[in-house]
Symmetry: C2
Subunit: 357 residues, 2 copies
Amino acid sequence: MQHGNRGPAPHGHVTLVQVAQRAGVSAQSVSNALNNPDRVAPETRKRILAAVEELGYEPNLSARALRNRSSSLIAFKMRPSRPDKASLLMDDFLYVLNAAAVEAGYHLILCHAEDGPAGEIKAYRDLLKKTSIDAFVLAETHHNDDRVAALRSWGVPFASFGRSWDGDDSLAWVDVDGRAGTRAATDHVAAQGHRRIGHIGWLAESELGQDRREGWLDACRDRELETDLQAAVVDSLEAGRQAAHRMLDASRPATALVCASDTLALGVMRALHERGLRPGADVAITGYDDSPTAALVSPGLTTLRQPIDEVGRQLIQAIDNLMAGDPREPQHVLLEPELVVRGSSLPGPRTSAVPTS
Amino acid sequence: MQHGNRGPAPHGHVTLVQVAQRAGVSAQSVSNALNNPDRVAPETRKRILAAVEELGYEPNLSARALRNRSSSLIAFKMRPSRPDKASLLMDDFLYVLNAAAVEAGYHLILCHAEDGPAGEIKAYRDLLKKTSIDAFVLAETHHNDDRVAALRSWGVPFASFGRSWDGDDSLAWVDVDGRAGTRAATDHVAAQGHRRIGHIGWLAESELGQDRREGWLDACRDRELETDLQAAVVDSLEAGRQAAHRMLDASRPATALVCASDTLALGVMRALHERGLRPGADVAITGYDDSPTAALVSPGLTTLRQPIDEVGRQLIQAIDNLMAGDPREPQHVLLEPELVVRGSSLPGPRTSAVPTS
DNA sequence: CTGTTAGCGCCTTCAT
DNA sequence: ATGAAGGCGCTAACAG
């Protein structure tokens, strides 16, 4: 633990100058060896890298940020989790996003904002004023998203989890194909013999909800099934529960319910519980998101798993490209969700010795 | 993007000098007005603050970090979430922790590490080498925690969610009283008339699990109930399921099962499902954590809610005190969990019109 | 190919 | 009570 020349250098911080001294060159050459390898003689470079290695040198990010206006920080705003929501992908998402960020040499910094887009934009601006942020990751973009407009006007790179719903393809996004997912779920229950397949989805304002609804419609049309059983509600357990009761009280009731979220599907399970009906055996249910809860309820909830780690990786990749000034069109990545079949959509009781999971 | 741009700062950054010009003073006076109010005449100070307000000045954190070796960054390492785990408090925890951090003028930066304590320590050290980190927040501390030793040896402030289990009171921690919680849950089911109350807890290595088990023992002893029905298993749905089957197959079977986690309790629900038994009506179940899932299953799972927002606030407070060089003993805060009663522990079927939630 | 100069924005030290 | 100088660690620009 040798101290720096002047002032207390905590934790044995090593600086460029120390590396330079060790290698017998100037500080600039060390910087070049690291950042512009071609500007330094191979021989010198090797010596410098050896010294770097030996001293365990790591560039100081604050200094670099000050000089370069680039902090290697990527900001992400968390939402408060609602108590009645199952979809805590956020937890997983944040983990993989951070892992990918670190892998690419960035770090994730969390952003806090009052609710609503205005609050979020203000939080972004405040953060940018305080320190340089290389890029932002947005989630749940909508039509005419103010956040997109704001970030763009500031010239800050960003990528979004959620496509641009207004066909604005100058923005980099990664998304999961909700339509294909819901279609797969509908096909799956149809394959079990169900003909009265209802859909419980989100309100019409939600582009995401609309997209998922389309998948159900697609599948029904393919099979010439009726599409009269549908609900457009908010994303809550209670809304799912009530919608389920309505569809089960219909003159020709639903025998299968395809939902736009696990939360809604769990509401359906609640409704069945109240009626003494069994998920799977009596009414087939599918959700969406593969939230942790889906695997834990009994019977397990059939749902669609979003390839969340791939989403994280692709977002960071997109940002990396943006930062590198890649002149090509920003990335648009649409990933396929995976149908995870569990007991809630299967007719049979436990047919095998394996527990219905 | 553009590096080394010498021109005007992007995003309309405002610097100390600009504020100084606006207020007709030197940069130092502005700095003093902000950081050492007593070193500047009240009148001048007022004028300066007006200029700050007017220009929307925010000190640049990178510059400050470089100068002060203090970044106003607090680091936290996330774990990957296990697929079979219900307790995604993390999501909530991170949100409130960040909110509290921002409130106190900090920002949360996420840390990524390979699994295991060694990987975590390495990640901390790497981060510290790259940039100054004001403090760390630890989670799930155990007996003889290497991370504690490491951080302490580096002289970096930190606070931990989870007490020091080895009586080392020189470390600042916030924790939730698992013993009191489990006792409350046990008392609750006992009050429903249950006499054969089993406990499904964690392996003996887990201090946290041991603590929770004690609460069950306390309550049983108080009421002179037998404590033969107990299991010490890993925290998974499957383990809970198997343990439940064992306790229901006993010669004098359990009529109530108090679990150390929601995950285990959900395993119990799975076991009941397999046996065609009803949670609540046939066997009372309680979990621990009030994970999102607990509210979403049917019937709802009785569980213990950790006052997670208070935990977050207290952790930041503890760090703030540490940073301020508060000479008093580090904070130790033990919070009480709150019993949330839902259908899984209540005998009656739907007695009222209100759905069993 | 390498070294020197200068300055990013801030704050501590020292002079006025 | 205020201002001037200097430097935290780094790197773009320009010599040499």
